[in-house]
Symmetry: C2
Subunit: 283 residues, 2 copies
């Protein structure tokens, strides 16, 4: 592996850069980003070796796109235009259907692998990049059959070296399921944060009374609006469906309380407690 | 300090026991619990020194009630009946108005301090008890003026030794504010868990696709229904108000998406991002 191009040197791209550099110390890591300040910061932090532009990707071994999903729709076709036959390009976006449709007929479709690593933190930018972000994390690959076998192998080798486990899925199923376990969580967290902020005009009260439980529940409300807005836009139909069901469940819980049916309230919680078993499996 | 009685040897009571024993190694820690198995477990784990019954509290230095808030309403008056003039009793319940009303006219009211330590985890039972749970946590004290000054001093000394910071509040304000930063978070988390469980009939999908973000958001859905049901019951009016506002905010977010107003979606998230600053203050 001689060189790797990271497009978008934030949390996701930067964390790939750090771990790949550790695995392959002689590889040159090039960074591409429309935010020049981020590029400089990434060089300074040692996240990337050198700054580059899109046209430099011709002889890349790997190109990793880690930019907002609306930008990926625009940039990926250009990247595929520029690369050589031996380059493998993957993205890391949280929606997969639109991007797969977008490049379906591209002559270099077989150089692209549609990827969604289920990894991240609530922070963003080059300084958010960390070592080991992908270790023991699930990596969802969509439409694997559309990617050239030799290039699949190259990517799978890297994912394996990063410690990821692979799961294959079609883009439609991916977008539907991820709406439940990721996109909805972000909205519930943002709206919880909003509700509390609106009420507690005096921040001091939040500061004093909020414990670790609240903090955990609103952690995702720190996430980047620039990254999340296009995700909600691309996955609109699925996300609205999850929101409908979530709101229905909340209303039902409220109704139980209004009716003084606290046996019902107890049962609601007891049933959901089995998440414990499910989540223990995640760790 | 010669002896301390912990009523309810679970996460909250057990964690008090562990830290007090560390501060005062010669003190005898007695445990009282209607769950005999929990008592035996607490002795075995070294959380308490000895099992006891309510009637033994006569010569207690401290009595700490850490049981569900409905049980506190029943047990606290009995405890006050049994204690001596020098005993200080405090509870750790998440609602404060009902309990303060309940013991308002009790002849031993001045031996009781209404306390809510903002600390905990999603686990329960004696095995959930941990050292240092209360360090750097906020401890809300209600109606402090109703407690005998000498006994206040005794309790404050202990809280200070445990590393807690104190905030005084009236019971009504406590219950109103805590509904936002604690009770609502629990419901949002339980209902998020329910929504995902209902959809993903196949647990395997949740297991594979859920990341740390989801896990953080549904962490509180592991909480004990036995503890939380009476909290929601006692704080019904406030909790329903927070639920109304939360549901309204979620509906508004959905409406913005349905109207393709993604600039509006962006702004919703951007505004809430300032939670970051508020939460940074908590840590």
């Amino acid at each position: 592996m001689n060189n790797i191009f990271i497009i978008g040197v934030g949390l996701i791209g930067g964390s790939f850069a750090l771990d790949i550099k550790k695995l392959y110390p002689t590889t040159t890591i090039y960074g591409i980003d429309k935010n020049e300040a981020h590029l400089d910061e990434a060089v300074k932090l040692g996240v990337i070796d050198e700054k580059a532009t899109l046209k430099d990707v011709l002889n890349a071994d790997f190109v990793i796109l880690a930019i907002p999903v609306d930008a990926t729709l625009k940039v990926l076709p250009d990247v595929l235009d520029y690369i050589s036959d031996n380059t493998i390009v993957f993205d890391a976006g949280s929606t997969k259907e639109d991007i797969c449709i977008k490049v379906k007929a591209h002559p270099k479709r077989r150089n692209y692998l549609a990827v969604h690593p289920i990894a991240g933190t609530e922070y963003s930018g080059p300084s958010a990049a960390i070592h080991g972000l992908y270790k023991n994390k699930t990596n969802i690959i969509c439409e694997v059959e559309e990617t050239a076998f030799k290039l699949q192998e190259k990517a799978l080798k890297l994912f394996s070296e990063l410690g990821m486990r692979i799961r294959y899925m079609n883009p439609k199923a991916h977008d539907k399921h991820i709406a439940y376990v990721s996109h909805l969580s972000h909205i519930s967290s943002f709206m919880l944060g909003k509700t509390v902020i609106e009420k507690e005009k005096n921040d001091r009260d939040i500061f004093d009374m909020a414990g670790s439980g609240f903090e955990s529940t609103v952690r995702l409300a720190k996430s980047s609006p620039a990254m999340w807005t296009p995700i909600f836009e691309q996955n609109k139909t699925n996300v609205i469906e999850t929101l409908d069901e979530y709101i229905t469940n909340l209303k039902h819980f409220k109704k139980l309380m209004e009716d003084d049916d606290f046996e019902g309230v107890y049962k609601e919680m007891e049933t959901t407690n089995r998440l414990t078993d499910i989540l223990n499996g995640i760790q």
